[in-house]
């Protein structure tokens, strides 16, 4: 059969990729207005990819298991932050410091992920809203621990971390000890753009792990569970356990991702970083063309590039157009929420349309059959 591009194909392509297309258009408009140099933009984008891809990749596994977007990745981010707080207080520097942070964060992330997975099994079919609410709830617990627990209960006595009153963690912590330590460990410069080789290796490794994971028995089980719980259960797959594992893996990856992210940023915003990062990671993934039920590594990188390109461009474009960078700031926040909403709605519409189409096809086929 020869493939011809028809109007319908074009329309389908547009309908299926509407979110990335909107972003490409926004970015194309903003690039000349903002007036940044190409070198600057490329450098910025590479930094953002290094910073965010680990976090965004952590979202893939729950989607595979049919649990939608894991808003609960915030829990992983919290675990990562706790690890970072400890190593800063203990003054462990460089890559060993980051490793130690990861070691501290892992059991916390596993525990939080297990808790979240348990909850999501009870709220089957409403995973996304439930994980979103769990992240709010755990945010309260996190604040309690960090604001009141650290100091009197958990022995941390570093002036760099603890507020002058003697307990509670400072609002912002300077991560001078671990700043860029992974990125600058092995870095080359091409055409004025710094390229951190070690970070790239780490991210590539995670991509390989995810590809490998899809081929394992567990990965296959997750795909089965994601498609139809009942059928998977009938075949003897332990559905609940599989789903909990998906969330645990995602939470642990999110914790590692957060540690990398913070080391790249160089400052920890103790009470905000984690909740912001969840929203931005999900928005980036959706901008890359992923949906609630389908996401690939390609979506991750395309999404980060487009979403963060917009992040870089809009404040400058806002300043050039309105004389105020604030407009761009404002713009990027509402856009990220808007994108999530749009993606969720589009997903519903698309599923319904596909259902109607296949129903019609089936009926047509049967009509033909009856006539024959």
């Amino acid at each position: 059969m020869k493939k011809t591009v028809t109007n319908k194909d074009v329309r389908n392509f547009l309908a299926n990729n509407i979110v990335p297309i909107i972003f490409v258009v926004i970015c194309l408009i903003c690039i000349p207005i903002a007036g940044y140099s190409g070198q600057y933009l490329v450098g910025q984008i590479i930094t953002r990819i290094m910073r965010n891809s680990f976090l965004v990749l952590s979202l893939l596994i729950p989607i595979m298991a049919g649990m939608g977007l894991n808003f609960g990745m915030t829990l992983g981010a919290m675990a990562g932050q706790i690890g970072i707080i400890f190593i800063t207080a203990w003054n462990v520097v460089g890559i060993p410091g980051l490793l130690l942070a990861a070691i501290i964060a892992t059991p916390i992330a596993v525990l939080l992920g297990w808790f979240c997975g348990k909850m999501l099994n009870m709220a089957r079919g409403r995973e996304m809203i439930t994980s979103y609410m769990i992240s709010f709830f755990m945010n309260g617990v996190y604040q309690l621990v960090v604001l009141y627990g650290m100091g009197p209960v958990i022995p941390i006595h570093s002036d760099q971390v603890i507020l002058p009153r003697g307990y509670g963690v400072r609002n912002t912590i300077d991560l001078i000890n671990v700043r860029q330590s992974v990125d600058s460990y092995w870095q080359i410069t091409i055409g004025g753009v710094n390229i951190p080789i070690l970070t790239i290796i780490l991210i590539a490794l995670l991509c390989v792990v995810i590809v490998w994971f899809r081929k394992t028995k567990l990965g296959q089980d997750m795909r089965a569970v994601g498609q139809d719980l009942e059928v998977a259960k009938e075949a003897g797959i332990k559905v609940d356990r599989t789903r909990i594992l998906a969330i645990i893996i995602s939470t642990v990856f999110a914790a590692y991702g957060m540690i990398l992210y913070l080391s790249n940023m160089g400052t920890l915003n103790t009470y905000n970083s984690h909740s912001q990062i969840g929203m931005f990671s999900i928005a980036a993934l959706l901008v890359g063309g992923a949906s609630v039920s389908k996401a690939s590594i390609k979506n991750v990188f395309l999404g980060i590039i487009l979403f963060h390109l917009m992040f870089i461009l809009t404040p400058q474009a806002g300043r050039e157009l309105m004389g105020q960078a604030q407009i761009g700031e404002y713009f990027r926040v509402f856009v990220s929420y808007g994108v999530i909403t749009l993606a969720l709605v589009l997903y519903e519409i698309r599923t319904r349309r596909e259902k109607a189409e296949s129903a019609k096809q089936l009926a047509d086929m049967q009509k033909e059959g009856a006539r024959a």
Partner: protein, 524 residues
């Protein structure tokens, strides 16, 4: 199986069922809906329903040893596989992946020592091989790399059967109406596959409503009726008409005897249905042509899954449908429930708890709700219709009228619908559609799940409504006797199309013939 019996809440549904099955034998199982076929298979398969309702009597013997399966998994271990009417396949997986689901061959890897067995990668090549083995054993052509979502129905069915026979210990395969969804050609292939299996020593229990298939493929036939095995026939020596007679035959002199004469049909056609198709899962309508005459009481019968229930659901717009439907010569827009209600059609759904009733609301609300929505009845209008208030007094009056008329047992018209018994809920559904004062009323399975006394009352009410008010009624029912009692004409739906329309006084054997797929002419 020996002396198997089973009752649900004191209602015996299986009585003293005995049969034996040799290795490689194909056993046909036929009977009307509710004859006990499914219950029998559920017992054999150790389904949860059986345990939850108090187990069963009698014994199941395999190789001379008694077995009691606590769950379907036990039955699987003993080598019994079952293919249900509904597919249980994963749409995004290929045929091969579905066939070996959760029994995938694995590559050992070092990582599994750390992370446990589930970290083994899947051996794609071995998986493919295993799937092809099963497909060859079945003897059908099926592409193992095809996604299930892109398959025609027949291939889905083959995938499902391949999955069962790829289990190493399989010895007995139960097929529950496997050909119901297949085209003729696909069905032929399936029958061939069954013969292949039997030649390899795998026994098959084959449940179907298409009697010709039984003759084609089975060694032995069991005819069931009312929870009993009526007769065990040699498939080679029996005939379709013999089986059909045994299936529907009732004891003469039963309680349900029609006393009334058939009324002459009016010439005027109220509703004309042409080439209707409806995509209702499990009740697909393929191509229905039907004329309903003014003032008549038309019955639509047929076996479950043949599409009779799909007809009203499609016309009323509850499921995607197409074709041409005309009411009094005017075409009705399909897929639009509001348009149907506006044109004075009403529908009493078979799903009374889901579609029919607002369970948490009072009886008054239930009776008046649709009429209020559609026809602005029971509303007081103020300011030229800008503000509409409910007319509580009128609602109460009409509800009480129907409570009396239909003898609904309730404490008051304010009682909640969910507190009533099934029969009384059904009467509320009827009252609701009566309140619409329709010209044509569809009633779907009005007596399903209600006791005999209530049944008689519901039927009586419908009959009176038809006779006294002259409202045309189309009643869909699985119970032929019920249709024969109150209808003028009965149409039988088979395979999504009308296979024949006969006067209600025709003997039930003729209807039985229509149900199993013989056309009207052959039956006469």
């Amino acid at each position: 199986m020996k002396n198997v019996s089973k009752d649900y809440n004191g209602n015996p549904v299986l009585k003293d069922v005995n049969f034996t099955l040799k290795a490689g034998e194909v056993l046909g199982l036929v009977g009307e809906n509710g004859a006990g076929k499914s219950t029998l298979m559920n017992i054999l398969f150790g389904m949860d329903v059986i345990h939850e309702t108090g187990g069963y009597g009698g014994k199941v013997l395999i190789d001379g040893k008694e077995v009691k399966f606590a769950s379907p998994l036990d039955a699987l271990k003993a080598g019994i596989g079952m293919v249900h009417q509904e597919f249980s396949l994963l749409p995004g997986f290929t045929a091969a992946e579905n066939i070996v689901l959760n029994r995938e061959p694995e590559n050992k890897s070092v990582l599994s020592l750390v992370f446990g067995k589930r970290a083994n990668t899947i051996d794609r090549k071995a998986l493919q091989k295993k799937a092809i083995e099963a497909i060859t054993k079945l003897g059908v052509s099926l592409d193992p790399n095809m996604l299930v979502s892109e398959m025609p129905v027949g291939h889905k069915q083959f995938t499902e059967i391949s999955r069962e026979i790829s289990k190493s210990s399989i010895r007995l395969l139960v097929l529950d109406e496997p050909t119901a969804v297949l085209s003729e050609k696909e069905a032929e292939m399936l029958l061939k596959a069954i013969r292949n299996l039997s030649a390899q020593g795998i026994s098959v229990i084959f449940i179907t409503h298409r009697l010709q298939e039984i003759i084609d493929v089975c060694n032995k036939v069991l005819v069931m009726r009312d929870g009993k095995i009526i007769s065990e026939l040699d498939a080679k020596k029996t005939s379709i008409s013999e089986m059909a007679r045994l299936m529907v035959g009732r004891e003469v002199g039963g309680p349900q005897v029609r006393t009334e004469e058939i009324r002459p049909l009016s010439d005027k056609i109220v509703l004309s249905i042409k080439n209707l198709w409806v995509d209702m899962p499990g009740e697909t309508v393929r191509n229905v042509n039907l004329d309903v005459h003014q003032g008549e009481f038309l019955g639509i019968g047929g076996l479950a899954g043949q599409g009779k229930i799909g007809i009203p659901n499609g016309i009323m717009g509850l499921y995607p449908a197409g074709g041409k439907v005309e009411l009094n010569g005017k075409a009705i827009a399909l897929n639009n429930p509001r348009a149907c209600l506006d044109s004075s059609l009403a529908f009493v759904s078979e799903d009374r708890r889901g579609v029919g009733l607002l369970l948490d609301e009072s009886l008054e609300w239930n009776v008046a709700f649709t009429a209020m929505q559609i026809q602005n009845k029971f509303l007081k209008q103020y300011l030229g219709g800008l503000i509409k208030w409910r007319d509580q007094a009128a609602i109460e009056e009409v509800t009480n009228k129907y409570i009396k008329q239909l003898q609904i047992k309730c404490t008051s018209s304010k009682q909640k619908a969910k507190e009533l018994s099934g029969g009384n809920q059904q009467k509320i559904c009827l009252a609701k559609s009566f309140a619409l004062q329709p010209k044509l009323l569809f009633v779907s399975e009005p007596t399903r799940g209600i006791d005999i006394g209530a049944k008689a009352l519901v039927l009586q009410a419908l009959k009176e409504y038809n006779r006294k008010n002259g409202v045309t009624i189309v009643m869909i029912s699985s119970e032929l006797e019920e249709l024969r009692q109150c209808c003028d004409r009965i149409a039988i739906v088979t395979d999504g199309a009308v296979s024949g329309i006969l006067p209600a006084t025709t003997p039930s054997e003729d209807f039985g013939m229509l149900m199993v797929g013989k056309t009207g002419k052959e039956a006469m």
